[in-house]
Amino acid sequence: MFRYILRRILLIIPTFIGASIIIFFAGFLLPGDPVSAFGGERELPENLRRTLEERYHFDEPVWKQYGFYMQGLVTDFDLGESVLRRRSVNSIFADAFPNTARLAILAVAIEILIGIVAGILAALRKDKFIDQLVLVTTTLVVSIPVFVLGFTAQTMLGVQLDWFPVAGLNEGAYSYILPAFVLAALSLAYIARLTRTSLVETLRADYIKTAQAKGLRSTRVVGRHGLRNALIPVVTFIGIDFAFLMGGAIVTETVFSIPGVGFQLVRAIGQRDNAIVVGFTLAAVIIFLVISLLIDLLYAALDPRIRYE
C-alpha cells in the first residue's frame, strides 16, 4: 500500500513539471508583454520599463524566468505577482476560487437533484408523456448556448419577475442560485438522459426480473437493484463535471458578474496579464492533480487489486 501511495505521489512530480513548462512557455509566447500592457496608450518611459523588467525578471532569458518562478512556487507556494495590478496572484486566486467553488458545488447539487430525478421518472414512464417531456426539454436546453440562456434568465427572472438578483454578489448566497441553475443546465440535461438510458437498460437485466419474480416491492427493485447499477456512468460523469467546473465557468461567471476563476482568467488574457494566466492555470493543474490523486488513493484503499498491482 505504501509503495503504491509513494509511486502515485512521485508520479505527480513529472506530470506537474511537464504541465508547468507547457503553461509557462505558452504564456511567454503570447504576443505583447505585460510591461507594455501596463503602460497603456502612452509609451512607458524607458527607465520605468527597466525597473519593472528587473523587478519581475523579464530581462532574463525565459528558462531563467521559469527557474525563478518554480523556485518561488516550490519554496513559498508563490504563484507570482500581476504586473498590471501589483497584487500577488495567490491573493487574487484566494479571492476568486471560493466564488467558483460555491458556484460549482451548487451547480453540481442541482444537476444531481434535478437531473437524476428527471432521468428516473423518464425511465420509469418510458415512452409516456413525462418521458417525452424530459426528452424535449433536455434537447431544448442542450441546444441553447449558455450565454443566451444566461442573458434570458437574467432578463426574465432577474429584471422582469424580480425573483433573483440579476448579477453580482451583493445579495450573499442568494446571488448564486440563478447562475448555478444556468451553469447546471447543460450537464443537467445530459445527466437526465444518461440516467434514463442507463436505467432503462438496467431494468431489462435478468437479475431485475429475478428480483421482481421473487416478489420484491417495485421501489426496492428499482432503488436497490436497478438504480445502484444504473448510476455508475452517471456518477463518473458527475465527478468529471465537478472537477471541470472547479476550473472556472467562463461564460456564466462573466454574464452574472461573479468574480471567480474563469472570469479572472478571461480578463487577464484580454489585458495580457500573464502572471494571472500562468498562475491560475497552474493552480487549476495543482487542484486537478490533487483531486485525482485523492480519488486514486481512495480507489486503492477500497479495491485490493489496485494496491497489489
Binding site: A37, E41, N47, A167, G168
Partner: protein, 570 residues
C-alpha cells in the same frame, strides 16, 4: 460484483466532493458574513435617512436648499488596478481616489475650472515659475492628523519615484516641476519616496512652494489630478500592503473596510471634512464585470447609478429611463493618425479627410456621438468646433485632390487598430470610404491591445494610418494639442511638425492666465485644421442611467460622477 464496485466509486467521488466542499467551507462562512453588511446596507436604504443634514458639525455648510442628505448610494465601476492616488491610471481609479483625497486644487463641478482645495489661495512670481500655495490649517487626514505641506512633498515625491513605477508620474513632467524628470527618469534607490523632488518645498506647515523649469500658467489645473494628493507618510510606511488596499486620505469620503476586489469599494462620509459634507451617508463603488450586468442591476433597482450604458442598450434606455437617462459629452477624442513620414503631402491628408464620411460613422456606427470637425472636444474651454475646413464629406473633390497630389505608393493603404474594443466597424467604414472614393485598395488590420502597443511604440517606424484616442489629463484645450501635435512631445505619434503650430502652443503655455492663452490655442487649432495632422473622427460621450430613488445625478465633463451631490431617497 459490479454493484460493490459501484459503491466504492460512489464513495470515492462523494469523499472528494465532500473534501473540496469542506475545504472551501471556511471561506464560505467568511464570505457570507462579509456579504452581510452589504445586504443590510441595501435594506436600510429603503428608509431614507434625513438626519445627515443635522450631523454637519465644524465648517459652515452651505448646501443647496432642496438638498437632503443621508442614504446609501451605489455607483457602478469596473475593477480599477489601483486606488492609491499616486498610482490611479484609469477613470475608475480616478473617480474613487477623487472622493478619498483632496489636493491643493480641485476640479469645479463643471470641469473647466479649478476651485481651491487644501490650498486656500495661491500666487506666482512674474514669469510663473515659482508658485506659492497657502494651505488651510483645518484639514485633517481621516486618522485625525492635520494635513501639512510636508505631506504634499512626500506624496508628490512618491509619485515621482521610479521605485513606485507609477504610470501617471508624467503629470509632474507636464507641470515641469524642477527635479521631477531627473528623479523620475533615474534608477531609483529601492525605497519609495526617499528622494524628495527639489522643486517642491514645504516652507512651513501651511506654505508650499513649487518651482517650475518653465512658465506654466496651467499649473493649478494640472495639480487637481489625484496624483498630486497629500499622503500621510507614517501610514504608508507602516504597512504599504495595507495602504494599497485601504488608503487613508483627506477627501469627502473614507473607506470603511479594505477594498473587496471585484466586489466593491465601500466608503462613508468623512464627518470631519473641511468643506461641504457629502450628501449620501455611504457610497458603495460597486464593481461588476460587465456594463450589461450593471445596466440590468439599475433596471432591477439594486444599483443606483451607472455611467457607460452599452451602445446597443442606448435606444431602449432612452425610452425606459426618460429623464433618468443622461448624456454628457466628455473630454475624449478618437482619431486616425497619419504618420508624417508616409503622408508628408498635405493634400493627401486633406483628401483623406474629405473622402471619409465621418457624419455617417458618428451617427450610425458610433451611435449618436458628435463627429469631430476640430481637434478639441466642445467641453474644453477654448475649443474651436469648426477648426477644420477640410472636415466635410466631399468625395469628388477628394478624388481630384488625391490624384493631383500623386496618390499613395502602390495605390494601397492598411489602417491599423486595436481589435476587440469596438473599433472594427468604424475602421472598416473608413476603409470602405477610401476604397470607394479614392479608387485605391484599403484594408484594415486589428491587433490585440498589447501587440498593438508593440506596433505603435516598437523600433520600426509606423507608416500606416492608425487608430488612437486621447483623453485629457487636465481640463484644458492645450492638453488636446500640445501632447499630440507639438514637435517636441513624446506623445506625438504621427511625428507631425509645424513651426507655426509649435509657436502658438508655446505662446499659450506662457500666457499670464489661461484665458489670455486661449487666442493662441484657437490659432493652433486653425493651423491643425488646415494641416490635418490626424483625421478627427468623434468626441467622447458618456451615457448613464439611475434609479428613481436618487436624484441630482451629475456626471462632470471631466468624467466622474459627482457622488457627494447625489440626493438619495428624494
Amino acid at each position: 460484483m459490479s454493484s460493490t464496485k459501484f459503491r466504492w466509486r460512489l464513495l470515492a467521488v462523494l469523499a472528494v466532493f465532500t473534501l473540496v466542499a469542506a475545504a472551501c467551507g471556511d471561506d464560505d462562512d467568511a464570505a457570507t458574513t462579509t456579504a452581510a453588511p452589504a445586504t443590510t446596507a441595501a435594506t436600510t436604504t429603503a428608509a431614507p435617512a434625513t438626519t445627515a443634514g443635522a450631523t454637519t458639525t465644524a465648517p459652515p455648510v452651505t448646501q443647496p436648499p432642496e438638498a437632503v442628505g443621508g442614504g446609501d448610494l451605489s455607483v457602478y465601476i469596473a475593477e480599477p488596478p489601483f486606488i492609491d492616488p499616486q498610482l490611479v491610471q484609469d477613470s475608475e481609479g480616478f473617480e474613487v481616489a477623487r472622493t478619498l483625497f483632496d489636493g491643493l486644487t480641485l476640479y469645479s463641478p463643471a470641469g473647466g475650472a479649478v476651485i481651491p482645495g487644501v490650498a486656500s489661495d495661491w500666487s506666482a512670481n512674474d514669469d510663473k515659475t515659482v508658485w506659492t500655495f497657502n494651505l488651510r490649517d483645518d484639514v485633517t487626514f481621516t486618522n485625525g492628523r492635520q494635513v501639512v505641506a510636508e505631506d504634499f512633498v512626500y506624496g508628490w515625491s512618491r509619485a515621482a519615484d521610479p521605485d513606485l513605477a507609477s504610470r501617471v508620474s508624467y503629470h509632474g513632467e507636464i507641470a515641469g516641476i524642477v527635479g521631477w524628470a531627473e528623479i523620475n527618469g533615474g534608477d531609483g534607490t529601492g525605497t519609495v519616496g526617499d528622494e524628495l523632488v527639489p522643486g517642491i518645498v514645504a516652507v512651513d506647515d501651511t506654505t508650499l512652494e513649487v518651482t517650475l523649469e518653465a512658465s506654466n500658467a496651467l499649473l493649478p489645473k494640472i495639480l487637481a489630478h489625484p496624483v498630486f494628493s497629500p499622503v500621510p507618510k507614517e501610514v504608508v510606511e507602516a504597512d504599504p500592503d495595507a495602504w494599497r488596499e485601504m488608503p487613508v486620505g483627506n477627501g469627502p469620503y473614507q473607506m470603511t473596510r479594505e477594498w473587496e476586489h471585484d466586489v466593491g469599494i465601500f466608503t462613508e462620509r468623512n464627518e470631519d471634512y473641511y468643506g461641504e459634507l457629502g450628501l449620501p451617508d455611504t457610497v458603495e463603488w460597486r464593481i461588476l464585470s460587465t456594463q450589461d450586468a450593471a445596466f440590468q442591476q439599475v433596471q432591477d433597482g439594486t444599483l443606483d447609478v451607472m455611467f457607460g450604458v452599452p451602445d446597443e442598450q442606448v435606444d431602449g434606455a432612452r425610452v425606459e429611463f426618460g429623464d433618468r437617462f443622461l448624456e454628457q459629452s466628455t473630454g475624449s477624442f478618437t482619431y486616425v493618425g497619419l504618420p508624417a513620414i508616409a503622408f508628408d503631402n498635405v493634400d493627401i491628408r486633406r483628401a483623406l479627410v474629405m473622402a471619409t464620411d465621418r457624419e455617417a460613422i458618428a451617427e450610425r456606427i458610433l451611435v449618436g456621438r458628435t463627429a469631430a470637425n476640430g481637434f478639441v472636444p466642445p467641453v474644453a474651454n477654448g475649443a474651436v468646433l469648426d477648426a477644420c475646413p477640410w472636415c466635410r464629406y466631399a468625395p469628388e473633390e477628394a478624388k481630384t485632390m488625391f490624384d493631383a497630389a500623386g496618390g499613395v505608393p502602390g495605390d494601397a493603404l492598411t489602417i491599423r487598430f486595436n481589435s476587440g474594443a469596438g473599433h472594427e466597424e468604424w475602421v472598416e467604414a473608413v476603409a470602405n470610404d477610401w476604397t470607394r472614393n479614392l479608387g485605391i485598395t484599403v484594408s484594415f488590420e486589428g491587433l490585440e491591445w498589447a501587440a498593438y502597443l508593440d506596433f505603435l511604440f516598437g523600433d520600426d517606424p509606423v507608416t500606416d494610418p492608425f487608430r488612437l484616442g486621447w483623453g485629457w489629463d487636465y481640463p484644458s484645450a492645450y492638453n488636446f494639442l500640445g501632447p499630440l501635435y507639438h514637435s517636441d512631445s513624446g506623445d506625438n505619434l504621427t511625428g507631425f511638425s509645424d513651426a507655426d503650430l509649435d509657436a502658438a502652443l508655446d505662446a499659450a503655455i506662457i500666457a499670464e492666465t489661461e484665458e489670455e492663452g486661449i487666442p493662441f490655442l484657437e490659432e493652433a487649432q486653425r493651423i491643425a485644421g488646415d494641416q490635418i495632422p490626424v483625421i478627427p473622427i468623434v468626441f467622447g460621450l458618456a451615457r448613464g442611467v439611475h434609479t428613481e430613488r436618487v436624484s441630482n445625478v451629475v456626471y462632470t465633463d471631466f468624467g466622474f460622477t459627482l457622488v457627494e451631490n447625489v440626493v438619495v431617497g428624494g
